[in-house]
Amino acid sequence: MGDAMPYPNDATLIDALRGGDEDAFSTLISTYHAPLVRTAALYVNSPTVAEEVVQDTWIAVLKGLERFEGRSLLKTWLFSIAINRAKTTAQREGRYDVLAEPEDTDEIPAVASDRFRPTGQVLQGHWVSQPQDWDAIPEERLLSLEIHAVIHETIERLPFHQRAVILLRDIEGISAEEVRDLLDVTDGNQRVLLHRARARVRQALETYFEEAH
């Protein structure tokens, strides 16, 4: 997404914004408004409130623009402002899942244990039967609205921290280090949360392809 910006780097864009270039601000909003609303929506109870949080975020961005020193990417800075504001709202809304420590205690395996040969058997821990070959699925099917919906609904049902990590990493394209800082989790936590979230989405896709046969 942000890669399509017509400004070669953050410094050029920030100079244009500080200089009052309306196209620059318009580009910034077009590029980041939707990602920021999706992110704020993780924390708050309604799309309307998420939208309000991001409207406030843009105003805060303008207020902070002169002071922005470029120690983080502009993109990360925008997300951090939106997340801080969304968290404040979440506190008011009593969203305890959002404010709690990461839910890394569930030990659900990435793949159900009955897919592997049981202990004591020859080849224990190896596949009972191989996973499907997804290369055999036509690309247009993979990109269908149905698949889009399967992924979306699976992510919506994830516990908060898993949902936040997969959104920021795999949908918004933010780096592991930046997501760690934005969500205030450890490197290890970040990876475990991403692992669980991706495994759930893969499982949902596998189930969908099996049932649709």
Binding site: E22, H126, D133, W134, D170, E172, G173, R198, A199, L205
Partner: protein
């Protein structure tokens, strides 16, 4: 291959994110890659994971209308005039 060092598929699927994230030690990475090279099932699983990541990335294109863009541009104009 030494039975003790041989990774199971069940271990493989739990290590895949650490592998993709570059978080494995050199030894673990070598074990992981040896297993991947020898195991058709895990090669297919690796494809699942790469496809899952790619398709999840497609959710970023979901169009969200920007409410009040004109209002925001007005805020920018006001800011600009105030700042200069």
């Amino acid at each position: 291959m030494n039975e003790q060092d041989d990774m199971t598929c069940q271990e493989f699927v739990e290590m895949i994110t650490d592998y993709l994230e570059g978080a494995l030690s050199a030894t673990e990475r070598a074990r992981f890659e040896d297993h991947l090279a020898d195991c058709d099932g895990c090669e297919l699983y690796m494809k699942h994971m790469r496809t899952t990541i790619r398709l999840t990335g497609k959710l970023s294109v979901a169009a969200v209308p920007i409410e009040g863009k004109d209002k925001l541009l007005n805020v920018y104009r006001t800011w600009k005039n105030g700042a200069k």
